[in-house]
Symmetry: C2
């Protein structure tokens, strides 16, 4: 087909997608002006109405979700992906709970802070404002539709949602509830627009709408995110790998260390905040590693270790590549280190600046770890699995940023806003 002139219907389809996406962008920009200055009360009302609409549409959502599940099964999609796709009553309850939790958060828009007088007499501070229009491009899990819509709305933004083709029917059913709820609160339904196409060209078109879209938030596999970062003319808040570490210090409390290292990996394997490489101080390794190895083995988790780890517990040898691997599954890399410095060096060299933990009772070493590990979430004596917006009290998250610009770590309401300067004067003029 390469080099051949495109056939007529193909050209038409492209033209349609271009104009469709431009129209979606224009509507979103117009809607952003309305939601950007909507009162806290009307935003709360819209969120309550969305929760009500989702609750009332349980049967429809489940019927539509069953279509996606059937298609996924007949397409031979992997079981973990099918699990993430499924929406049962428990899943719907969680969506509703998520919406109501976002509703209960403080409205970030209009928050004013840091006002002080300058010697000239002007008083200067900041006001929190919405970004404008957010486009989310995501795969698989249909609950993202509701999380993204709730957070955008509460933070005064309009949003454009582009879900994965495998969740098409589920997403459409959920988005219908979202629009119904927004309109029931007297706001324009275009505040949240879910694209009605799974044509991949739509993504390319979205990335060009820098006039109408202020930020792109991709969620999905590394391939999707890399493609979007490379192509986008619009700023991207992105999440790449989650190569998370736990460093067990020689001054760790051993039972706590075992509990944290086990939970960080085994509580959930296929998540970005799961432990991927365990680092253990050489002087505590013989106490904690055998216990941990037994627990991991019971949980069906394979260990791949450095030479010193292999001396203590029989396991496969780790290759250099293992230190940079995000397994997202039942494999864990293990390295014995000489001390804190080597641990921090390992994390900064091989990690992905996502979430890293030290287990220690030593005050000075805990401070050094916090200061020197350059990751979005740095923890002392807690499980990596806490690194998400819900656990951090953000209500929900549109994603976890491994970028440094704008937003780092779980992105909730604050990450979807910006701050402008406000100056109160009493007639001051400047003399240069």
């Amino acid at each position: 087909m390469l080099g051949a002139a495109p056939e007529y219907p193909y050209t038409i389809a492209m033209t349609n997608i271009t104009s469709y996406i431009a129209e979606v962008g224009r509507s979103a920009r117009a809607a952003s002006r309305v939601i950007g200055s909507a009162s806290s009360a009307s935003k709360s009302e819209a969120l309550k109405q969305i929760a009500r609409a989702v609750d009332a549409a349980r049967d429809t959502i489940k019927v539509e979700n069953a279509k996606d599940m059937a298609a996924a099964e007949s397409n031979g999609i992997d079981q973990p992906l099918i699990d993430r796709l499924m929406l049962d009553d428990k899943g719907i309850d969680q969506m509703i709970e998520g919406i109501l939790q976002v509703e209960s958060l403080k409205d970030p828009v209009g928050e004013m802070s840091d006002f002080s007088y300058r010697p000239t007499g002007i008083q200067i501070g900041k006001m929190r404002v919405p970004l404008g229009v957010i486009a989310m491009i995501y795969e698989s899990r249909p609950n993202v539709t509701v999380d993204a819509a709730s957070l955008s709305l509460k933070s005064g933004n309009a949003c454009i949602l582009r879900g994965g083709s495998e969740a098409f029917h589920s997403n459409q059913a959920i988005a219908a509830c979202v629009v119904q709820g927004i309109e029931a609160a007297g706001l324009p339904g275009t505040i949240v627009q879910l694209l009605n196409t799974t044509d991949r060209a739509a993504v390319g078109e979205l990335l060009k709408q820098d006039e109408f879209i202020d930020v792109i938030v991709p969620r999905g596999g590394k391939g999707l995110i890399e493609r979007i970062s490379a192509e986008s003319r619009i700023p991207v808040i992105k999440h790449l790998d989650g190569i998370c570490h736990v460093y067990i210090d020689d001054e760790a409390e051993p039972d706590m260390a075992v509990a944290i290292a086990f939970n960080s990996k085994a509580e959930k394997l296929a998540v970005c905040n799961a432990l991927e490489t365990l680092l253990i101080h050489r002087d505590i390794a013989q106490i904690v590693l055998p216990q941990l190895a037994a627990k991991y083995q019971e949980a069906g988790i394979e260990l791949r270790g450095c030479a010193r780890a292999q001396e203590l517990v029989p396991m496969t040898a780790a290759s250099e590549a293992d230190w940079g691997e995000e397994y997202l599954g039942p494999i864990l890399a293990v390295r014995i280190v000489d001390g804190l410095d080597q641990g921090i060096e390992h994390i900064n060299q091989y990690g992905s600046q996502h979430t890293d933990v030290i287990v220690t009772e030593n005050y000075t070493k805990s401070r050094a770890f916090i200061a020197q590990v350059d990751s979005a979430s740095v923890m002392v004596n807690a499980s990596t699995q806490f690194a998400d917006g819900f656990e951090y009290g953000l209500g929900a998250e549109v994603g976890i940023s491994t970028d440094k610009i704008h937003a780092r770590g779980p992105v909730g309401l604050e990450g979807l806003t910006s701050q402008k300067y406000v100056v109160f004067g009493s007639g001051e003029i400047r003399h240069r």
Copy 2:
């Protein structure tokens, strides 16, 4: 030349620039680890030593600056640009004052805030951290070299500076003082690296170093900034137009309105925070416009007005294009509006989201203006000319951002940092 094989020396030059820039990037990344964890005391010492070195090198700086001035004059460069290039003792004093002011600011790195307990028992908050490596690409004014270096250093970042060819000698002389000061404080001189080439290919190479550079800050003409935004693989903090407005409300105090509208334009013309379009409520226009017109005329400023403005004062007719023009010179567009709503609508339609002012005594209208005007700086009863980092108390600025992502308005220390999450636990594990 198109299609022809590049000649041998040309190829060599390109290869050299590629490897030179890669080496600069690598050194900057290494230096960023040192400055990122440097103590407040050693950063202060470095800034004091830089100020001392600049003071001691006054004669050299003036000699080198004279070379640039001579070249600019013989190249027939515009007088305003030549003025910006000139460094006399007053200019050097201001550079030194700027360095010492940055030195006296609170160290932003390590600032911890917003810690609170979650129901799970973890305590979560944020810590301010450097971005890493900042690349500044700028034209003309050599004092940017010192401002950018001071702010980067204080905020714990390494920086790469690429000044304009017209200020090459001045910049090299200043950068030598900067490096000398840093080394006198026992820190590596590579924390601040000024490129030793004015080859334009160097900019293209810088924009590819996403492994070593975390953010690009361009300062200069619109062409430069658009080229950098389009080409860069690295996030850009940018400033486009400064189409600033003053809206004089019918409830403005007339003398204050005249003073602010005049100062906003006439205090300095060729700056991004200068007034470009004056909006006046129809009910106060006949009081303030004739007075203002007389003052502007005296200052040699041409008015271009809407039909209603022309009825009150003889002036050229403004075309549609005038509302979107950043004159940066002695021309001002004037429009009479029906009220606040039309004023806000005009600003949001034609403005560049830089700096906009309302002059009013009315409380409700001042609040509406602040909430509804979507600009980086929104002011009540003060001159647009206050919109800069020095006046806002940021010490200096690396630029004024008209973006919404990451930093808006004058970018000082805070804009060169990011926040990571810190979690303090006592052995908590997560149960999903």
